[in-house]
């Protein structure tokens, strides 16, 4: 009886560890890549500021900021194209994409500046699966190409 209880606890501990490992893997996954970076481009990741260069891989929850002279172009793993002009801040709040089923979820926030989007497979597969938030509104993306501007303070 005691042996069985111990092994049960072990199984649960192992299961918990596996679940954690899975979560960790998912969090570290590349969700997109910077393709174009002009002027000042900064990526804020887990409290650190990184210079945004062409070729850089992006992670979930990255916040992309451009300076007065900056612009940036990003290709996401679902083939969405996200680009921003000067003085812009975009947060990649939530991103999940299954490359086999094309199911997923993409939520970004434009805090200020200008954003151009060509939506990809996530929005094509399920029309409510992509949103862009601004300080005053929420945009539901059914497709495909649009632009958003938020006057910065």
């Amino acid at each position: 009886m005691r042996i069985r209880r111990t092994s049960y606890a072990t199984v649960r501990a192992v299961a918990a560890a596996c679940a954690l490992a899975l979560v960790a893997t998912a969090a570290a996954e590349d969700i997109g890549q910077v393709k174009v970076a002009r002027g000042t481009v900064t990526i804020e990741r887990a409290g650190t500021q990184l210079p945004g260069n062409a070729g850089m891989r992006l992670k979930r929850a990255d916040v992309v900021t451009t300076g007065v002279d900056g612009s940036v172009g990003i290709t996401m793993s679902d083939n969405s194209l996200v680009s921003a002009g000067p003085n812009s801040t975009i947060a990649l709040d939530r991103y999940e994409f299954d490359p086999t089923t094309h199911q997923g979820r993409f939520d970004a926030t434009l805090r200020k500046g200008s954003l151009a989007v060509v939506s990809g497979r996530i929005a094509k597969q399920s029309p409510d699966a992509m949103t862009v938030r601004t300080p005053a509104a929420v945009l539901g993306v059914r497709g495909t190409e649009f632009v958003v501007h938020v006057d910065g303070p």
């Binding site: 680009s83 200008s114 497709g143 958003v148 938020v150 303070p153």
Partner: protein, 206 residues
């Protein structure tokens, strides 16, 4: 003395808070947002739904636009000149659209057909145009043979094309290869049917 200094400090803090609040309110009051749906290149049903609180506006025509501020949402038709003025740099930074290629194989092998082997150079040319290419090669088979054997063959086809790309100088960490077996035929067939169009790799360069 200490007490009056503290009082002065409190007074200045209150003034500073009031000033920041006034600036923040002004910024909110004047802040305006603009959303414009752009014309579609491949003519799909495009739309963006703009939700502000309980109100919802649907933009579903080329250049249909919405202006959102604290007073509410106003829809109108934007001009290409306005789009260019507000979004010129953002649109200029847009990455190239992903390019797709399909290459075909000799039955039961990971050897390209002669015609597809000739197309290989156009894949390389597309990769060369991209400053930071990210390439995905997905292998497929027709429905001759077992599922398990086709999983192996599909993977081999993708790996063979990946190896050929690396041999031509493409960086290893920019090419991913995966196999889908017979699960995603280009042309649906019954099991066991030989179909040349399903013996393929699909390459995306983005």
């Amino acid at each position: 003395m200490a007490r009056s200094a503290r009082r002065a400090a409190r007074w200045w803090t209150a003034r500073a808070v009031a000033a920041v609040a006034a600036i923040a309110l002004t910024a909110c009051a004047t802040r305006q947002e603009t959303v414009v749906l752009l014309p579609e290149k491949d003519g799909h049903d495009a739309a963006v739904v703009v939700r502000q609180g309980d109100t919802q506006s649907v933009l579903d025509k080329p250049y249909a636009a919405a202006q959102v501020d604290r007073a509410g949402t106003r829809t109108y038709v934007a001009s290409p000149a306005e789009v260019d003025r507000l979004f010129g740099p953002a649109l200029a930074a847009q990455p190239a659209r992903p390019a797709r290629f399909t290459l075909y194989f000799v039955e039961g092998t990971d050897r390209l057909t002669e015609e597809s082997a000739r197309m290989f150079d156009s894949v390389l040319a597309e990769i060369a145009r991209n400053a930071v290419p990210d390439i995905v090669v997905v292998g497929h088979t027709d429905r001759v043979g077992s599922d398990a054997a086709n999983d192996v063959l599909a993977r081999q086809r993708a790996e063979a094309v990946r190896a050929a790309l690396l041999q031509r100088g493409i960086a290893a960490d920019s090419v991913a290869a995966e196999g889908r077996g017979e699960r995603e035929p280009l042309v649906p067939t019954a099991d066991g049917v030989a179909e040349p169009r399903n013996r393929r790799v699909e390459i995306v360069v983005r």
